[in-house]
């Protein structure tokens, strides 16, 4: 099990990095924000995908729920995103509960496919109801630079906002791993039928993991909307994004800090390829895919574990 020392190092590193990057390489500050953004998404995914072993390609749908809820509340009712983000989280939790009650009964590949379809349905609905969501044109948030509206001219604000959400996601993961629920979730991952036979209410615990994961993802959705001030159905409820979230956690692994490592690594890598070969569109993802295959074949339980065991 993890020693407290390691947790403290990670937390300190995550808190110091934005400030250090802001001072040293301000022109690349957005890369740090993206790293944290993906790390947080991976960490939220890990609750259902890693701990419980229910592979979901549906998390970007909850990102969309969070982003659209807080944005629409702000635009139509002048509700601050600070409040809207929790409403979005609650709405995503309810959505995931409704979806989970039906689709979590499915096993393995069937659950994967249903979550895959769910993202597409959310995207199509967001694009269709143009009178509410403005369709594929997207929604633009006004530039107010006011902290009360969760906006700021200073990028450090966004760096620490996403760092806070990331640490929240990791803390929730930590709390679960230390609780009875966490052990039940691992039992479900290893052998669902056996867990059931031993009296674990598997449906209830799987739904709990799904709801928690969706809630955290929706909070990240509000961050996304406030950071870019522009959201569209295809940029939020998107299958490629959903897949990328899962890849982060698969490459990282399912340990506490593994998705964080995965998010930082993959975004750092994507940034490197883009900077080195800006003229070739598609190359970054092609290389990314090859790397992914290599990781899956050589170290199926993730880079984090590999690093811990070999270095």
């Amino acid at each position: 099990m993890l020693r407290l020392g390691e947790n403290a190092y990670w937390a300190m590193g995550l808190v110091l990095l934005p400030a250090a990057a802001y001072v040293a390489v301000p022109e690349y500050f957005s890369v740090v924000i993206l790293m944290y953004y993906y790390a947080a998404l991976g960490s939220a995914w890990n609750i259902l995908g890693g701990r419980t072993g229910q592979l979901s390609f549906g998390n970007s749908a909850f990102l969309a729920v969070g982003a659209y809820t807080s944005t629409l509340l702000f635009l139509d009712y002048h509700v601050s995103p600070w409040v809207g983000m929790w409403v979005g989280g609650a709405l995503a939790a309810v959505t995931s509960l409704l979806l989970g009650l039906t689709s979590l009964r499915l096993k393995g590949p069937f659950f994967v496919m249903s979550s895959f379809a769910f993202v597409q349905v959310v995207q199509l609905l967001l694009a269709h109801f143009t009178n509410i969501t403005n369709g594929n044109v997207g929604l633009v948030l006004p530039l107010t630079d006011s902290l009360a509206d969760m906006e700021s001219g200073n990028p450090l604000f966004y760096g620490y906002l996403i760092a806070g959400i990331l640490l929240l996601a990791v803390s929730v993961n930590y709390a679960i791993s230390k609780s009875k629920t966490g052990y039940f979730l691992s039992a479900i991952r290893e052998d669902e039928d056996a867990a059931k036979a031993l009296g674990v209410n598997t449906a209830r615990y799987k739904a709990l993991a799904f709801v928690t994961s969706a809630f955290l993802t929706a909070l990240i959705g509000t961050f996304y909307a406030q950071y870019l001030l522009f959201i569209t159905p295809t940029a939020t409820a998107s299958i490629p994004l959903s897949i990328q979230i899962a890849i982060i956690a698969i490459v990282g692994g399912r340990e506490l800090w593994a998705p964080v490592l995965g998010g930082i690594m993959l975004e750092g890598f994507a940034f490197l390829v883009e900077t080195l070969f800006p003229a070739i569109p598609g190359l970054n993802f092609a290389v990314y895919a090859v790397l992914l295959m290599a990781v899956i074949i050589l170290s199926p339980s993730g880079v984090y574990k590999y690093v811990r065991e070999h270095i």
């Binding site: 499915l106 496919m113 895959f116 379809a117 269709h128 598609g282 190359l283 895919a289 074949i297």
Partner: protein
């Protein structure tokens, strides 16, 4: 009319699921490669795109065989998760490799008969659709023959039913698995070649079809070859009928909601036998 080709593209997916027990997320990209093979074939030879079917089937058969026997088989003992992610990685790789090689512009296969229609009684038929439909029927027959009348076909069916028993009976499981994957990939490529004269071709065209293919195979029952054709026809009817009442995007949303419901309520498909 497109029901037949929906069937051809999905039957490969169902075949792969039947033997490997994983959904192949790279299936849309196999279809995309089939479309590009046809495009380049027509551009270079100026022949009818129908003749490119053999080429694209052969190319994708080799690619599929290589991918399964060299990569997928390495993680086949570790359950479905690594295998699913390998097909996901392959799908990302292929669509981006296509973008690097051929750019992201839409390409159209130049054929002479795209705008021809002829009439049977009161029904007017669009010529490319008729050719595609006839070919799909022919392929369905060919596939039936392959699976039921040849040794390899029977071995594929046996492996899908019970891999251990098949192995005990002397089936070379490794080879059969690779051949099934290769055959599935080739079928996707054939569907791509058939569709090429009708659809614009671009690197991410596969992602447009993949969810539709999942829906079709689940509707027909995963692993059920006949079901894939019935499901394909059904979905094409649902899509064209719903397009009368609602816009196209909402039609797709309805199909995918139907897909989730079928998964939950009748995972064995509409016609499948109940498993376990």
């Amino acid at each position: 009319m497109l029901g037949g080709v929906y069937g051809v593209m999905s039957v490969g997916l169902t075949l792969i699921f039947g033997v490997l027990r994983i959904p192949n997320f790279a299936h849309g990209e196999f279809l995309m490669l089939g479309m590009y093979v046809t495009y380049w074939f027509v551009v270079f030879t100026h022949l009818n795109p129908v003749f490119s079917i053999a080429v694209s089937a052969a190319v994708l058969f080799v690619l599929g065989y290589f991918f399964q026997s060299q990569l997928l088989s390495r993680v086949s003992r570790q359950g479905e998760v690594p295998q699913i992610f390998l097909t996901v990685a392959l799908s990302i790789f292929l669509s981006n490799a296509a973008e690097i090689l051929w750019g992201s512009n839409y390409r159209i296969v130049p054929v002479s008969y795209t705008s021809t229609t002829f009439h049977i009684g009161l029904v007017s038929v669009y010529a490319p659709n008729a050719i595609i439909f006839a070919f799909s029927l022919f392929l369905a027959g060919l596939l039936w023959f392959l699976l039921n009348k040849t040794h390899t076909g029977l071995a594929i069916q046996a492996t899908a039913q019970d891999p251990e028993a098949a192995q005990l009976m002397g089936t070379d499981i490794k080879k059969v698995t690779a051949v099934s994957f290769a055959l599935g990939a080739a079928l996707a490529a054939v569907a791509g070649s058939l569709l090429a004269p009708l659809y614009p071709i671009f690197p991410t065209v596969g992602s447009y079809f993949i969810l539709l293919m999942f829906t079709i195979v689940v509707l027909g029952g995963l692993g059920d070859v006949k079901g894939a054709f019935v499901g394909g026809t059904l979905i094409s009817v649902v899509l064209s009928v719903s397009s009368i009442f609602v816009t196209e995007d909402l039609g797709f949303a309805l199909v995918f909601i139907m897909f989730i419901l079928i998964l939950v309520l009748a995972p064995q498909g509409l016609f499948g036998k109940t498993v376990k």
